[in-house]
């Protein structure tokens, strides 16, 4: 008895020691900067950058429609930009999902070296700089670019096609950048899907469509949800893609934050903006996860 107690406390000490580096890392590089941001978001912006140490809730006020009279105005543009970002992020999730889901089944059905090759190809873009890869899309999509000239030469269009600096071009870029993040979790899920369940469903009289809806989708839902989360969050905050492929016409919250910090040097406003978006994402996913754990608590695992 005494011995097991001693073992337990030794185990706990080892655990604390093992967790220490991670705790310090998170504290120094995540919690402290986050704390600074929270503090800054409630401070008054200085006239030439920097901050004045005064209580100043109007950074948030500007965003949610409760501005300091005369001095700062509520501009619905922020709300519009946010809604547009949300739309782009959702479209990106949809786009990556539509590409990745069938692809995952296709790759999972492959065998041997071919499968390894395809999986390697999926990971390949990570080795090249993102800026360069997005810049390549700029060349493809601009009016004198590959896509437009190709369509013109086939006679499908008469005028040069200007796809650049639209929501469409931004979504294309986002889908391109984020597809591997959707593909991999779905693939991991599909790979371990027990095919005999599909056969059982057919055996019990289900059509292919019924099997997809009742068996395959529910069983691969964890992969779909996981992939959607890790695509949605970076899509919402991404500023490289919209600034290259969206130009000044497509604004996303990512650009707004970037501009507040780097150009207008209004750190409190940038911090407030970033924190609001973070809060939005956190609330969204805590709702999702509490629902999920509730339904799992009912039985399955």
């Amino acid at each position: 008895m005494a011995e097991t107690g001693a073992t337990a406390s030794r185990n706990r000490r080892t655990l604390i020691l093992l967790l220490a580096p991670l705790t310090i890392l998170l504290g120094v590089f995540f919690l402290i900067p986050l704390g600074i941001m929270v503090v800054y978001s409630f401070l008054e912006p200085g006239l030439y950058g920097g901050v004045e140490w005064n209580w100043y809730p109007y950074n948030y006020g500007r965003l949610i429609g409760w501005p300091l009279n005369d001095y700062e105005v509520f501009d619905p543009i922020y709300l519009k930009i946010f809604l547009n970002s949300l739309q782009i992020a959702l479209m990106t999730v949809a786009g990556t999902l539509l590409l990745s889901y069938p692809a995952a089944f296709w790759v999972a059905s492959m065998k041997g070296p071919r499968k390894s090759l395809v999986l390697f190809l999926v990971a390949l873009p990570f080795f090249a700089n993102m800026l360069v890869r997005i810049y390549a899309w700029l060349l493809l999509l601009r009016p004198t670019g590959f896509l437009s000239t190709l369509l013109e030469s086939t006679g499908l269009i008469i005028e040069p096609l200007d796809l650049l600096f639209t929501n469409f071009s931004v979504i294309v870029g986002m889908v391109y950048v984020l597809t591997p993040f959707m593909f991999l979790p779905i693939y991991a899920n599909v790979e371990k899907l027990d095919y005999s369940l599909v056969r059982a469903s057919r055996d019990l009289g289900a059509t292919n469509v019924q099997t997809l809806w009742r068996i395959i989708l529910p069983l691969t839902a964890p992969g779909i949800i996981g992939g959607s989360v890790i695509v949605f969050i970076p899509a919402l905050g991404n500023f490289i893609v919209p600034s290259l492929l969206g130009g000044s016409k497509v604004q996303m919250t990512g650009n707004l934050i970037e501009r507040s910090f780097l150009q207008s040097r209004d750190w409190p406003f940038g911090a407030a903006l970033a924190l609001l978006i973070m809060a939005f994402v956190v609330v969204l996913f805590s709702l999702q996860f509490s629902r999920q754990s509730k339904s799992e608590g009912q039985g399955t695992r």
Partner: protein, 365 residues
């Protein structure tokens, strides 16, 4: 001939990853009757699952056809055939409760709710799982999962139930009670069960008829008793039960009694209607046909015990009888009897009657 489910010259090839091809089914012809429990028995890899998949419609035949009461099934897809399968690993849907699992086939067929509830309840009752409807599959024991799989199929009232080694994952006790249960279930629902197994004891104890398969071919289709007593060839004799097989040439024939001369010169008297002088033949003697004591009309073989194995109810003696193979003899021992007499090295005389031996053709005596 009852023309219920007929399989004619069924042949199925598979491509191997190495680029060759393999005949999983080779000219299989089987006539399966209505309301019988028929076993497909054979070693692993002999094509049992393949045959079941072809019947269910998951695989297409390369040659031959399958008909149900005279109608070809070739063009009927799996989900429209009046057959259901109990899969080797049960294949229960892990995200659905027992009740929803059993209701699945009715759900996809849009059966009306009241009738669905009634039939699901009935099916669960049939397999002794009333009250388990709300459980998830992973909250059930192996035997219970098995029953859910059976209920899920039976609820659709199929004409044939296909079972692919349904008991192989269960422990021995469970397996034996499930064998009895499945047999009586088959009896009470009154449909054909096609039961795949590699366990010869299971096949013999449950089936109305047994089809023995080896390397994609049907070796014998007969009642369990016939399979055991009159195996058609060496494979069946070896695979089903323990056999002592002695190869030889017929050197004399007198009425039904043949004299078989083995390669090392010993002579064996056996009874058979077939075979003539000069033919190669194999004599099959079951362990229970070899006795350690005999009557006047019995034939005797002398030999030496090489090994004696205690299995509880009896002793298995391995006896070198100088026929190229050791013979296995079963000896019921009595409590307190002296076993030393049958220990390794002991000389024994084995007795058998020529009628007990079953004579089959054999290749290359």
């Amino acid at each position: 001939m009852d023309g219920f489910l007929q399989i004619r010259s069924a042949t199925k090839m598979y491509r191997t990853p190495e680029g060759g091809s393999i005949r999983a089914l080779d000219d299989v012809t089987l006539h399966i009757r209505s309301n019988e429990l028929i076993s497909l028995l054979g070693p692993s890899g002999c094509g049992k699952t393949t045959l079941l998949k072809c019947i269910a419609g998951f695989e297409d035949l390369d040659h031959g056809d399958i008909t149900l009461t005279g109608q070809s099934l070739t063009r009927i897809p799996a989900h429209r055939r009046p057959f259901n399968t109990v899969f080797q690993n049960y294949a229960l849907f892990p995200h659905l409760t027992v009740e929803r699992n059993v209701a699945y086939g009715l759900d996809v067929a849009h059966v009306e709710r009241k009738e669905r509830t009634r039939r699901v309840g009935e099916a669960l009752e049939q397999v002794g799982l009333a009250g388990f409807g709300a459980r998830m599959p992973n909250q059930l024991s192996g035997g219970q999962q098995q029953r859910v799989a059976v209920a899920r199929s039976l609820v659709l009232k199929p004409k044939v139930l296909l079972l692919d080694e349904p008991l192989s994952a269960l422990d021995r006790k469970m397996r034996e009670s499930m064998q009895i249960e499945l047999k009586s279930l088959q009896h009470s629902v009154g449909i054909t069960f096609i039961f795949v197994t590699h366990d010869q004891e299971e096949a013999l104890s449950m089936s109305d008829r047994v089809a023995v398969l080896a390397s994609g071919k049907v070796q014998q289709l007969a009642s369990p008793k016939e399979i055991y007593d009159e195996p058609q060839n060496e494979f069946v004799a070896n695979f089903v039960g323990t056999s002592n097989i002695f190869k030889g040439k017929v050197i004399a024939k007198e009425g039904r009694t043949l004299t078989l001369k083995t390669a090392n010169g010993r002579e064996l008297a056996v009874a058979s209607d077939r075979f003539g002088v000069g033919d190669d033949a194999c004599a099959v003697l079951r362990p229970e046909h070899l006795k350690l004591s005999g009557e006047a009309r019995d034939r005797a073989i002398k030999g030496t015990v090489t090994q004696s194995v205690f299995v509880g109810s009896e002793m298995h003696l391995h006896v070198d009888v100088g026929l190229g193979r050791t013979a296995v003899v079963r000896h019921r021992h009595n409590k307190g009897s002296t076993e030393a007499a049958y220990g390794p090295g002991a000389d024994v005389t084995l007795y058998y009657t020529p009628e007990a031996a079953h004579v089959i053709e054999c290749k290359g005596a």
